[in-house]
Amino acid sequence: MTNHWIDIKNSDCVLVMGSNAAANHPISMKWVQKAKDNGGILISVDPRFTQTSARADIYAPLRSGTDIAFLGGMIKYIIDNNKYFPEYVLNYTNASVILGDKYDFSDGLFSGYNPNAKSYDKSTWAYKKDDKGLLARDESLQDPMCVLQMLKKHYSRYTPEKVSEITGTPVADLLKVYEAYSATGAKDKAGTILYAMGWTQHTVGVQNIRAMSIIQTLLGNMGIAGGGVNALRGESNVQGSTDQALLFHILPGYLGAPTASLATLEAFNKARTPKTVEAQSANWPQNIPKYSVSLLKSFWGDKATKENDFGYAWLPKLDDGQNCSWLNLFDQMYAGTIKGFFAWGQNPACSGANANKVRQALAKLDWLVNVNIFDNETGSFWKGPGMDPKSIKTEVFMLPCAASVEKEGSITNSGRWAQWRYKAVDPPGQAKPDGDIAVLLMNKVRDMYKSGGKSPEPVLNLKWDYVDAKGHFDPHRVAKEINGFFQADVKAGEKQYKKGDPVPGFALLQADGSTSCGNWIYCQSYNADGNNMARRKKDDPTGLGLFPQWAWCWPVNRRVIYNRASVDLEGQPWNPKRAILKWADGKWVGDVPDGPWPPMSDKKNGRLPFIMKPDGQAAIFGPGLNDGPFPEHYEPLECPVPKNAISAQFINPTIKIFGGEMDKHLTCDPRFPFVATTYRVTEHWQTGIMTRWQPWLIEAEPQMFVELSEELANLRGIKNGEKIKVSSVRGEVRAVAIVTTRFRPFKLGELTVHQIGMPWCFGWIVPKDGGESANLLTPNVGDPNTMIPESKAFMVNVTKA
């Protein structure tokens, strides 16, 4: 989230799209309700009328996988009807920037497309620059090559009628949503978007969010109270885990992972550190060398020296272009390349797209370590449906771990708040906190390296002092390490710091080895003031629900990021009634500002608000993604229509399609004529492994179900409550039919398209007759930027069982 949970209450219009917040994030509705109590409007856009829709002022249905068409139509509406916020768009976005001559877009393809590599030459999307390297601009916003005019041209094709033909949303509903939401373009209005996996799990997942980001910047909704682009994260600490680099392509704090061709620290820093000549751009990422060196100091302590590149050579490197995301890992496992696997706090046998392939992949491993609080379909895959235990060689180890209340530590919520939690009870039996398991494992690895092995330095030189006197994992030591320490006596400004002092905040991190920091965005979380994540003060000076002394939030306790976009060039709030920040008597008052600089009208010292962008401005035109600088509608890999109604390019031209025997997909095939999507229910957590053992929860949602319309039920002769079969080209599941008025067929021009939906929280292990995971049906194809699977739009058949 750019904002945070409580801030939803400050909104005039809450759009929930790509999410069923009421079911999956129940507490969100507390703040949505407060917004409604203050006169705000709730809009729900969803293929199915959900629990969120039930509370919405406006509901609009759309066919799964057509969000860009829906949002593209909104962009057109905003421009055509002058609903955008002109001062904001001119000053804080790249609307006035002029594109280079090579940029083009034609019939679904952007310039620079290479059909053999299925990729774009992004240099054709570059901005026009003058001889000093400054961006060419037209502040009248009239130049046909300027971003705003290009945006207008791009979305001119997204007429309500065309959009409706793609999405199946009635034109009247589209217009109702467009009108209500674009009203937040007024200076004193705020609109927010709450989204989740309904937007990300598509082959156009990132571009779905890009489309909304464009809308939010056009309407001036970024950086303000009640605004922002807000991802409702699916786990209590999934934000924390990405911050700490759970993913393959990053190091902690979102520093890009090193690759083989970046052989030296200098090369790495050069490649990762953007440059700018724009006078008023802060270009905060210019500090990346300070963060990367401090991270290396944190990993290897005194062994990391200037002479040895601070141990940079010891970091594992990705091959250039290598992608180690989920789908590829399981593909490699299936191919037999990956021999061992730690399934740590997860259940891929049910959570992975195309779960049959996942389960077969597990059978090809030499060993599997399943770290979980309960047995699950992953650890017991070898005795699951269709498996012959005798023929499976995989050796499986079960390590019971502590549940969240059985250990101490921090979790970071969707709103970036790192909140410290105490341990309520000891874990049962031999179960251990994950940290202890990691320590014991690494201790053993280190012991083994001590008697030889290839390249022992990265392991043996590691600064490895994270245990207490009894040898147990000490979360405080780790949290302090993440915050960072001075590695030498340092004078900064008037203050003198000694070696071993905690670093007060990331502004003091250095690239010379004099500081360490395990994650620059968490610097300040545990410093000389103590453990800031454990704070529980309920003061709310702005009255906007920032609660600045409740826990701690990254970066530097800034509760709303890009918050200097909430003020005008003089530093005065666009909306004085909801002033998240204001410039008064030579200083900023309110939230922690996005940098200390004075307001923009100070041409010398003022800085643009979007400090993480090299040019300081919000990117309406975004030349960084793999599949285009503007979001464009493409059909899902599996879809119900024979062609893309808006261009000749049927599907996203940059997606990777696996070609193995288990990687089947079929589009517009009469054997699988219905659109399907997956979702969660309140009662079950993810694959249900923490909840399916719980009698009160399994009582409320006991069995795999499929929701379908009355029309489709009639077509197939299906009665409410009977068990039916849902199949895709990849697998089948049995499920109880819930025949409902909350799904309706979509009218796409002359075509009628039915859609169904299923939860993915069930699995064969428990309860008996509970049913199987919907992921047996989903396709293993990913978004070209993130490789997140397209679990939210695929094709199935439903028949009587």
Binding site: E701, P702, D769
Partner: protein, 215 residues
Amino acid sequence: MADGYSILVDTSKCTACRGCQIACKQWNQLPGTPTKNTGSHQNPADLSFETFKLVRFSEGVNGDGKPHWYFFTEQCRHCLSPACMSVAEKDEIIQDEKTGAVIYTPKTKDLDFKATLEECPFNIPRQDPKTKVLAKCTMCFDRITNNMIPACVKSCPTGTMSFGERDKILDMSKKRVAELKKAFPKAAALNADDVRVIYIVTDDPKKYYQYAAGK
């Protein structure tokens, strides 16, 4: 008895998260009933001697063709003049003076269950087939007499449920209904003068549940 406590259930805020249904089971240490999905999210299908609180789901299509989905988190209304008490001979059913909670004691095993159920305007009491004891919501008597609010109210994330002194709850109810009437002309507080658990609905109560406003 007109003072004591009341619970307001503002269904216009309910999202059917079922926190209340589970919290009731947890506080009262009631077992999970073995269930099957019968083509509805409503589960268990009905109240029972081990289910005192149940979120009922009801859906349909409005005049404008748009669907509606109503949630009705059902429980004993704790009537001011409980009809069920008319079948009691002695102290099988107690109405607590201070709180107004209507409590079924273990002695209800001696009552005529059918007659008790028939008397109840809201179809609430249920019988344990083994012990013959009747059971229903206690208003969390053990909590509210120890400075705690009922478990269901405590668990509610959206502010659907409120608990407090009856006059204050009645005030809240009136204000909320007046507010809701602007958008929902049919908004009403159900049986507010006769019951302690007052439901606010925005449409015909029968669309929520057959007995929402009584038999």
